[in-house]
Symmetry: C2
Subunit: 292 residues, 2 copies
C-alpha cells in the first residue's frame, strides 16, 4: 500500500501481487519506469470520498455564484453593499475532468440549477450537463464559464495545461476553483491574472508547492481563498474494506477492482451514481483519464 | 400588492378583493389591527425562491462544516495549517423552521450526508431528517447541533426567541446561521457569545437593524461572515405568474393559493417537493407557523 512511493522501492519486492494506491489521484504512479510488470495497481474510489469532494466543490461554486468574495471585501470596509443575487440558471459552471469525482460534482451542480458544462478527454454523458471532449473544445468551454472548476488528473499530458495563454481564455472576472493538482496550472500566471482582475476570484485547495510557501503572494490576495489540500480525503473506515476485498480477490486468483493503467492513467469506469456512458471520441488527447 | 405596508394604508380601499404579500416572509402583516376583514392575503411561495435559499444555506453549512472560518484565519496569518476534514455524518445540523424554505434546506442538507435535525411548531416529516416540535424540545435540539440554522418566521411569539439564555444552550464552539429575521435573536447576546468563542462562528444574512449600522462590532469579527439580506429573493419572472393566477382565481370567485392567516402566521401547507405530513401536536406553541 503506497502513497507517493520513492523511486526504486518496488525492486526488492519479488513476491509482490498487488499495489494499492492509498487515494484517488495516481499522478505519483503514472508514467514511472520502476513499476513491476503485470502487477495490478488499484486506487481508492470511494463514494464517500466523491461526496466529500462534491461538498467542497458545491461550497466553492456557491461561494462565487453568490458573490461572497465581493461581500467579504465589503465587510472588510464595514460597508453594507447590496448586489442582487443571480439565479443559478444565469450562471455557467464548467467542470473540467469528469471522472468519478468530477462527474459527481457536475451532477450536484446541475441539481442546484447551474448551467453546467463538462469537459473530459473521452466524452462523458451526465444528465443535465452539456459534455464536451477533446482539446479543440477546451478553450471554448473555458470561455463560456463564469466559474471554472479544475478536476482533471495530473499526467505528463495535463501538466501545466492551464498556462498563461489558456488562463487568459477565461471570461474577464470569472472565478477559478482548483481541487485537483497545483501542477495543472501555471501558478505565476494565475497569480498575475488574479492581481489584474482578469480572473475575478479563486478558491484554491492545491498548489505547485505544498505547503504553499510563507510569503507567497496568494496568501494575502483579498480575492483568493486558500485551503490546505483537503477538498477530499481517503476515509479509512470505507477505504480499508475496499482494500481488504481487493486483497481477497487477488489471493483467490481474481483481478482486483479499480485497476489503473500506469501508462496512461485511469481506466474509464462506470460511475454507480450517474452511469455516464463514457465513449472514446476521435481526437482523444492522450490525457491521463477522466478522473482526477 | 404590498411589501411592509404602512399602518392604515388599506382603510380607503373599499373595493379590495386580494392582498398580495410580495415575498415569503409575512412578518409585516402578522398581528396587525388594520387589515380589512375577510380579504384573502397571499404570499409568494416559489420553488425557485426555495432553491435559492437552500443554495445559500448549503453554502453556509458547508462553510462551517469544512472549517472555512478556521482556514480564513490561517490565511490571514499566512500559515498553512491543516485540520483534517470531518465526514458529514459526524456533523449535526439543526434546521429551526420547516416551512417550504426550511424543509427544502433540510432535505438538501441530509442529502449531503449531514446528521440533520429539524424543529418546527407543528411536527413535520421529512425523509432523512429527525424532526421535533414544541418548545419543550427546542433547547435539546439546539444543544445537539454543531451548526444551527435559523429559518423560523418572525411573529410576536418568535421575536427574541433566541435570547442570551437560549443561545447559551448551543454547544461550545458551534456555528450559527441566520437567514430568517434579525429580530428572532438578541443581537447583543449573539455578539458577546461570538466574542467569547462560546459560539464559534456565524454566517449572518439578517440583523436587528438593516442595513447593519456602520461601526457595529459584528463587522470586524474574524469569525463572522456578513451578507446584506439576500439569502433568497422574490424572482419577478416566476412571482408574476403566481400573482396573475391568483388574481384570476379571485376574479372567478375562487379562493387564491398560498393564503396566510394574519392572526397566527402561515398555514401549514403540503410542500410539493418532500410532502411533509404536517401534524399539529399537543403543546403547540402558537408560533407564527412552520415557514420563514
Amino acid at each position: 500500500m503506497v502513497w507517493k512511493p520513492p523511486q526504486g522501492i518496488f525492486e526488492p519486492m519479488t513476491n509482490l501481487r498487488l499495489i494499492v494506491n492509498l487515494g484517488a489521484g495516481v499522478d505519483s504512479l503514472v508514467g514511472r519506469d520502476d513499476l513491476p510488470r503485470n502487477i495490478p495497481i488499484t486506487r481508492i474510489t470511494d463514494p464517500q470520498m466523491s461526496r466529500m469532494m462534491a461538498g467542497y466543490v458545491l461550497f466553492a461554486v456557491l461561494r462565487h455564484a453568490r458573490d461572497i468574495p465581493f461581500f467579504e471585501q465589503a465587510q472588510r470596509s464595514g460597508e453594507w453593499t447590496y448586489r442582487h443575487p443571480r439565479s443559478p440558471e444565469e450562471i455557467t459552471v464548467a467542470v473540467l475532468g469528469l471522472g468519478q469525482l468530477g462527474a459527481k460534482a457536475a451532477h450536484e451542480l446541475q441539481r442546484q440549477g447551474f448551467r453546467t458544462l463538462g469537459w473530459s478527454r473521452s466524452l462523458a454523458q451526465i444528465d443535465g450537463v452539456a459534455c464536451f471532449s477533446g482539446m479543440d473544445t477546451l478553450d471554448s468551454v473555458i470561455g463560456q464559464a463564469d466559474i471554472v472548476v479544475l478536476m482533471l488528473p495530473l499526467t505528463p499530458q495535463t501538466k501545466q495545461l492551464f498556462d498563461r495563454e489558456r488562463l487568459k481564455k477565461m471570461r474577464p472576472g470569472a472565478a477559478f476553483i482548483n481541487v485537483a493538482r497545483g501542477s495543472l496550472v501555471s501558478q505565476a500566471a494565475l497569480t498575475d491574472l488574479l492581481k489584474s482582475g482578469h480572473i475575478g476570484a479563486a478558491t484554491l485547495d492545491v498548489f505547485e508547492r505544498e505547503p504553499l510557501p510563507v510569503g507567497d503572494a496568494l496568501w494575502s490576495m483579498p480575492n483568493v481563498l486558500i485551503t490546505p489540500h483537503l477538498a477530499s480525503v481517503a476515509i479509512p473506515a470505507t477505504s480499508a474494506k475496499q482494500i481488504a476485498a481487493n486483497i481477497l480477490r487477488v489471493a483467490a486468483g481474481e483481478l482486483p477492482d479499480n485497476i489503473i493503467d500506469p501508462l496512461r492513467g485511469i481506466k474509464p469506469r462506470q460511475s454507480p451514481c450517474m452511469e455516464p456512458q463514457l465513449q472514446h471520441t476521435e481526437g482523444a488527447t492522450g490525457m491521463g483519464g477522466p478522473s482526477p
